[in-house]
């Protein structure tokens, strides 16, 4: 079943130099396992291909039902150097929530995940 991240998580992003961070938090604690399994480092790197120049790091925070992603080279130099509208990476959060993941039907039903429309 196709599931949109925006239907199962919320997020906030910020910057450190030329790196944007995106914290993704499951809307329901039981959905954290879905984030952990399907929103992998590689999947996120692929999602942002062409938008960021460096690698992606992922950290797990099961205590907050959250994942933290570092998107390196995401801000056109960052801070005052950047010519981007989003020079401080404030809305990479919702850009990540555009991701659609493919969850096996049985698991999706068991967790009552909302299907992508």
């Amino acid at each position: 079943m196709k599931v949109r991240l925006v239907d199962i998580a919320h997020a906030r992003s910020g910057d450190k130099g030329d790196t944007a961070n995106v914290g993704v938090i499951a809307l329901e604690p039981r959905w954290y396992a879905v984030l952990e399994e399907f929103v992998t480092r590689n999947r996120v790197a692929e999602h942002f291909r062409g938008m960021i120049e460096g690698p992606v790091d992922r950290y797990e925070l099961p205590n907050l039902n959250a994942l933290n992603f570092l998107l390196h080279g995401a801000l056109d130099g960052g801070g005052t150097l950047s010519l981007k509208t989003d020079a401080q990476g404030k809305v990479y959060s919702t850009a990540l929530l555009r991701m659609v993941i493919d969850v096996p039907d049985a698991e999706a039903r068991r967790l009552e995940l909302p299907a992508a429309k």
């Binding site: 450190k16 938090i25 809307l27 205590n63 907050l64 933290n68 005052t80 150097l81 981007k84 509208t85």
Partner: protein
């Protein structure tokens, strides 16, 4: 010893809600008011101001904020801690003192002034002594931009603030303190946490991280169920009620808008996060994977379980240096074919710049309304009702950037059709002051506390 100490966050950056500090001290009981004014590049702006006028170089909003909270400080014993000193904490203290005297509160303030973070005058000596101040991101030594450096400040921790409070200060003004130390220091002072009480110190840092961006933890900029967050016009700024063991409750004053929930606090916890296992500060390394957050009644969130470990022997240094010039110009194209027209204008502009022989370190064009923030993820926007072409250049040559700013307006008459939104005139050329993060041995940074009565 107090059973609970309440710290109120009243400012998340220089430019935040001017009235928030007053609302924080008048909305209910508060022990400490914490005001964070400094972002990464703020110090360089302040350094430029100090160059023009040696009595400036601090966050001037703080002077008005102090006047607005003066009755609470004088009559109710609220203490204020702020990194408003910028590159000139003594001048900031003098202005606060003068403001208080003007309001008839002569002698009521005991201002602790923390200095020692400013390394600008010591750079050559430090480099010569074997401290390369290498860029943490690129590894390059500071010497390559030495002649363009505007300011250099070490991020200092809680100790000098604790010292100032210990000497009886009721207002503490620092320069480049870490944002989180401003909250942790009064807790350390009140509860007598030792320099190796790692878990408590880490808890104080996490409390600081939660409130250092003002209302961003109490309903502001909150994506979770954002429509239902009440009365943001009267948003309540955050309070932390901390116990001696380091557990604390995040809340806000009654009869204020916004919301404090597990979700609003969690969003702030992940904001600007790096490796959550190691949130490094001068005092302690906090482990964000140990934080437990739980609902504790309406607009109350209980935070507990935080573990800390010893810090490194380095301090982070923020250096600001001149890094060339930039300008950004915009034009708006309307339906039909809005995006296609904006893309055509972009190609024409690039070709003209090339014909003029202008070269830049960087040219960036974005199509606002189509892909400026979400890139290709936004999908096909060729039927957009309007699209703004946002065209920016950056380079070392001011004249070239200046010449670029003359090339936007002509497109109105000699480029693609259905164009508008150029009323702002020519774009402004801006000098870029860039940020150079570095590390330095803790042992070479000596802080000092002066008490001004």
């Amino acid at each position: 010893m107090k059973k609970v100490v309440r710290v109120a966050g009243g400012q998340g950056f220089w430019g935040d809600d001017l009235d928030a500090p007053r609302r924080q001290v008048e909305g209910g009981p508060v022990d400490y008011l914490m005001l964070d004014y400094l972002a990464e590049v703020t110090m360089s702006i302040l350094q430029k101001q100090k160059e023009r006028d040696p009595s400036l170089g601090y966050a001037r909003d703080f002077i008005g904020a102090m006047e607005s909270v003066l009755p609470a400080v004088v009559e109710r014993g609220v203490k204020v801690i702020a990194n408003a000193g910028g590159v000139n904490p003594p001048a900031c203290a003098a202005a606060v003192k003068a403001g208080a005297e003007k309001k008839g509160a002569k002698g009521a303030l005991r201002i602790g002034v923390v200095s020692g973070d400013d390394l600008l005058g010591r750079i050559d000596q430090l480099i010569a002594a074997g401290h390369p101040l290498a860029n943490m991101e690129t590894g390059e030594p500071l010497s390559i931009v030495r002649d363009r450096v505007l300011s250099a400040n070490a991020y200092i921790g809680s100790e000098p603030i604790v010292e100032a409070l210990g000497k009886g200060a009721n207002v503490v003004i620092t320069g480049r303190s870490t944002d989180t130390a401003l909250t942790m220091a009064p807790l350390r002072h009140e509860f007598g946490w030792g320099a190796t009480s790692w878990d408590q110190l880490a808890a104080g840092i996490v409390a600081g991280h939660i409130i250092e961006c003002g209302a961003q933890c109490s309903g502001g900029n909150c994506l979770y169920d954002w429509r239902s967050i009440p009365d943001l016009a009267n948003v309540g700024y955050p309070l932390v009620d901390v116990k001696p063991d380091g557990t604390f409750v995040v809340t806000k004053h009654p009869k204020t808008g916004g919301r404090v929930s597990v979700q609003t606090v969690s969003e702030q916890l992940v904001y600007e996060m790096g490796d959550p296992h190691s949130y490094i500060t001068p005092d302690v390394i906090a482990d964000f994977t140990t934080i437990k957050v739980a609902p504790d009644g309406e607009n109350r969130v209980l935070v507990s379980g935080i573990k800390g470990k010893p810090p490194t022997d380095k301090l982070k240094v923020s250096v600001a240096y001149r890094a060339g010039f930039k300008a950004v110009g915009t034009l708006v194209y309307a339906w039909p074919d809005a995006l296609e027209k904006a893309e055509a204008a972009d190609r024409i502009l690039r070709e003209r710049l090339e014909r003029l022989g202008l070269s830049f370190e960087r040219i960036l064009s974005e199509f606002v309304g189509a892909n400026a923030t979400h890139g290709h993820l936004a999908g096909d926007q060729h039927n957009a009702p309007e699209v703004q072409l946002r065209f920016g250049v950056r380079g070392p040559d001011r004249a070239a950037v200046e010449r670029f700013t003359r090339e936007i307006a002509p497109l109105v008459l000699n480029g693609p059709p259905s164009v508008t939104g150029f009323a702002g005139g020519r774009p402004k050329v801006e000098e870029i002051v860039a940020y150079w993060p570095a590390l330095i041995d803790k042992s070479v940074v000596k802080t000092k506390v002066d008490l001004i009565q």
